[in-house]
């Protein structure tokens, strides 16, 4: 029949009764369809279905790992654009965490508008369900331009209450906190260790071309020091010492370059 939809029902469990699939789908608002059932699906690499061939996918599981990122990607491949995926779980305890995890997985696989459904009321013969995530595959087609009429509301309606039972941490900041911070009394970038990674002021180039030794030949050949500290090395030199950056030396002896193991060759 032309109107009959194709639905793929998948589980990582060993069995999945057709009746359960029919009941669940009826509850989710889908009648008249042709179910394909695949069990023990956790290790499947690719479903034996053509791309964009099914109208809906129903994934049922009791474990937290199924469906994996890979399998969600497969769902996306086999679904027709605009098709729907339902991930139904039966889990004790940490439902909120799991809901979030599945929503993320489904979003990263390219699905839109994930919604959370409470499925505790569905009566099935062999098992029960706690919650479900429903999401849609976008309806773009490769090579065609996008439907510009897509309502802007869809994008802005993004829910910020993913973490239902945590306070919004951004509310802890005052307006003062959010203003651009004031840098400490700036002595210019001359006090920073090196030019900024993304240097735009040109200091980086200047540094690259810097002259290595700013001393006169005499100062190198026959170093003298009135303070007596210049020869002791950088640790003892004052801020204006001309020998800054050079290794320790003995007064009167020629200044040589030290072996500096991480010295770049210019």
């Amino acid at each position: 029949m032309a109107n009959q939809k194709t639905v793929l029902a998948v589980t990582d469990d060993v069995v999945l009764p057709v009746s359960s699939v029919l009941t669940i789908m009826a509850q989710l608002g889908n009648e008249r369809f042709d179910p394909l059932i695949v069990t023990q699906a956790s290790t499947i690499n690719q479903f034996p279905l053509d791309s964009s061939s099914v109208d809906a996918v129903l994934a049922i599981s009791k474990t937290s790992d199924f469906p994996s990122d890979k399998i969600c990607g497969e769902f996306s491949r086999i679904l027709k654009p605009g098709g729907t995926v339902f991930v139904c779980k039966n889990l004790e305890g940490q439902v909120e965490d799991m809901q979030q995890t599945i929503q993320r997985r489904v979003t990263l696989a390219g699905f839109l508008e994930p919604q959370c459904l409470d499925l505790k009321s569905i009566k099935l013969s062999t098992f029960s369900l706690s919650f479900g995530i429903k999401a849609k595959k976008p309806s773009w087609k490769i090579g065609s331009s996008f439907a510009l009429k897509k309502p802007a509301k869809v994008l802005l309606k993004v829910n910020l209450d993913d973490d239902l039972d945590l306070i919004d941490e951004d509310s802890l900041l005052t307006e003062e906190d959010l203003k651009k911070p004031q840098l400490p009394v700036a002595s210019g970038c001359a006090t920073t260790k090196k030019a900024c990674k993304n240097c735009v002021c040109g200091r980086a180039e200047i540094e690259e071309k810097a002259v290595k030794l700013g001393l006169t030949e005499d100062q190198i050949e026959n170093p003298q020091s009135s303070c007596g500290s210049c020869g002791l090395g950088d640790a003892f030199r004052c801020g204006t010492c001309p020998y800054k950056g050079l290794p320790a030396f003995k007064l009167g002896e020629k200044v040589t370059l030290s072996r500096n193991f991480l010295e770049a060759d210019i």
Binding site: G73, S76, R77, W140, E169, L172, T191, K193, I266
Partner: protein, 624 residues
């Protein structure tokens, strides 16, 4: 406990550290407390059960904020616990606290973690001892510039609240002649004849050495995931470029390589053998001796039985694999300990000066700004002989360096590719310095067959499924992970339809640093992942090719319609690169686009993008 005697007051210092700075600060606070007679425990937030907080009397928090305003990984679970709505407003009643934050005022989200924590703790009924302290990397002497005065205020206020905290009083006079602290580690030396005869694999040796090392921020990961050998070392930048960017390819020599696109690989660099020898000689150590490193017994910990059963390692190997002697700079405490072991009077004086509050700025100029290494410092103070126990505790740990992987397991099976910019710079004193890991990698050749220990882990870029439309922004080396994304999608496209990709790349000059030009351009041609036909595009910004600076954010704004369409179609945005400002510039550009296309205000657009972030549709990997 005799009747009437209350238990001694103690202080809990909880820290959240990403790179070790907050840990250093926390240890300093602990040390200062102990010197005043108040025992302190220093615990990482990922080792402390937050539900025990109400039982504490006095807690000092030391928390770092990363560039993007994020908290350290070790803080996340702890923080999530504190954010729970179900916690009552008086849950922390009776708890006294103080928060010290480490941040960088060069970033918009300055010290956000500390600010939020301080507010939340008050909101849960805890009482502040003193106002939060905000350490700032932009300060001339870094965070210590704020920490020193803040701590003094902390001690005097705590003393006023209850003098029992500091039986010796809040001000302590440290005798210049006695080192009152004890090293935290001890070394057991083994005779050679007690050794096992089996040869250890490289992997075992690394695991053994790094497992013993104090620098354990990477707890379970002493054993490398695998060993790689280099198969290719190619220069990507052309002559005339200011940078040297390499394309490296590696293969495994041990187990199979397992990773996904967008993942990060950490490499342990090798240190210069002559430098290691020089260090060992300078410190008067026996490189061939066999040692076990373990925690020293204290009244709290008792005898460490584990140490007795641990297997020894050669001292030289321990130094090579765990102690950074040529690149990282020591902390102020190293200079303090050095001063006690200096025999030359002028050296002792100078070291005491560097360790004091007055000498802090001069120390910063000499040490951090010049990127002095441990070896250099030891050579500058030749009379100092520090016992090995102290060296183990104070020499910065050798850290693995992380890189974003630029290959795809599908397109490049059994290989790992990296895109690495070779780091070098000139210090204020005009000394030239190179990055340890990048220079070492650049010097390697495939012929040498060097085995590199590596660890794989997830970064901030989750691998996208093939039907997820993508907006990728990767200027400079930020393009690396996206090379993997596109190569992978290209293979996936052979068997099933893939979603469109828009890729924005930027660099300084088209002719010299257009990384992977041929690769991107091949994908703009028919059937390529970045072709118009596939619904995507490739957009470039060459900032210095014209008088006006053009960056990726300008290109994004140029393409606002197409970007908007893709976002409405469910696209995820990925941003990667090495700049501080770039991610926020991109965010601004997107906010403008959303605002224009929807007719809503910029605040609404900002909220919308924050929502995308929470849903995993806006991912940033920014490295410094």
């Amino acid at each position: 406990m005799t009747m009437g005697e209350k238990p001694k007051k103690k202080l809990l210092v909880l820290y959240a550290s990403q790179t070790g700075n907050a840990l250093d600060a926390a240890e300093r606070i602990g040390r200062e407390a102990e010197r005043r007679g108040c025992p302190a425990s220093i615990v990482s937030t990922d080792e402390f059960d937050a539900s025990y907080l109400p039982h504490e009397e006095a807690v000092v928090f030391v928390v770092s904020t990363t560039g993007q305003g994020d908290s350290p990984d070790s803080f996340k679970a702890f923080w999530k616990f504190l954010l729970q709505k179900k916690l009552e407003k008086d849950w922390l009643q009776g708890v006294r606290f103080a928060v010290f934050g480490l941040g960088d005022s060069g970033y918009q989200k300055y010290n956000f973690v500390a600010k939020k924590l301080d507010k939340r703790l008050s909101g849960l009924g805890a009482t502040t001892i003193i106002e939060k302290g905000l350490g700032d990397d932009q300060h001339p002497s870094g965070y210590e510039g704020t920490l020193d005065p803040w701590m003094l205020s902390l001690w005097s206020t705590l003393y006023q609240i209850n003098p029992k905290y500091f039986p010796k009083g809040p001000d302590v006079k440290i005798s210049q002649d006695d080192l009152i602290d004890q090293p935290k580690y001890r070394i057991l030396y083994h005779k050679q004849d007690k050794l096992e005869s089996t040869l250890l694999t490289d992997s075992d040796i690394i695991q053994r050495a790094r497992g013993m090392s104090p620098g354990k921020l990477y707890k379970d990961k002493s054993k490398p995931d695998c060993f790689l050998k280099m198969t290719r070392n190619e220069v990507l930048t052309k002559a005339g470029s200011t940078k040297d960017v390499r394309h490296f390819e590696f293969q495994s020599v041990s187990s199979t390589i397992e990773y996904e696109v967008g993942d990060v690989v950490e490499l342990l660099p090798s240190q210069n053998p002559s430098a290691i020898d020089a260090f060992i000689e300078r410190c008067d150590l026996d490189p061939e001796s066999f040692i076990i490193v373990g925690p020293r017994e204290t009244e709290n910990s008792g005898v460490n039985e584990e140490m007795v059963t641990q297997l020894p390692i050669k001292l030289k190997t321990f130094v090579e694999l765990t102690m950074d002697v040529t690149s990282a700079s020591p902390r102020r405490y190293f200079f303090e300990v050095m001063s006690f072991y200096a025999t030359a009077e002028h050296e002792k004086e100078r070291l005491q000066y560097f360790a004091s509050t007055e000498g802090r700025e001069d120390l910063y100029n000499y040490n951090q700004k010049e990127s002095r290494s441990i070896l250099e410092v030891l050579e500058d103070f030749p009379s100092v002989q520090i016992p090995f126990e102290w060296l183990v505790q104070l020499v910065p740990p050798l850290k693995p360096r992380a890189f974003s992987i630029s290959s795809s397991p599908l397109a490049h099976p059994d290989q790992v590719h990296l895109t690495v910019s070779i780091v070098s710079w000139i210090t204020p004193y005009k000394r030239t310095r190179k990055g340890l890991c990048s220079s070492w990698l650049a010097s390697l050749t495939p012929e040498e067959e060097v085995h590199i220990p590596v660890w794989f882990h997830k970064g901030s870029l989750p691998a996208p499924s093939q039907s997820l439309p993508l907006i990728l922004v990767g200027p400079g080396t930020g393009c690396a992970p996206f090379r993997g994304f596109i190569a992978e999608r290209s293979v996936q496209a052979q068997s099933s339809p893939v979603a469109p990709v828009m890729f924005f790349f930027g660099c300084r000059n088209k002719d010299t640093d257009f990384l992977y030009r041929d690769f991107w351009e091949s994908h703009t041609r028919e059937g390529g992942m970045l072709s118009e036909e596939m619904g995507g595009g490739f957009y470039t910004a060459f900032s210095r090719d014209q008088p006006k600076k053009v960056y990726v954010q300008h290109k994004i704004r140029e393409m606002s319609k197409k970007v908007w369409d893709l976002l409405c179609g469910g696209a995820a945005v990925y941003v990667a690169g090495s700049s501080t400002k770039m991610p926020s510039d991109i965010m601004s550009a997107l906010e403008e686009i959303v605002s224009e296309e929807t007719g809503r205000s910029k605040e609404d657009a900002s909220q919308c993008l924050k929502g995308l972030e929470k849903k995993g549709r806006y991912n940033v990997e920014a490295w410094s």
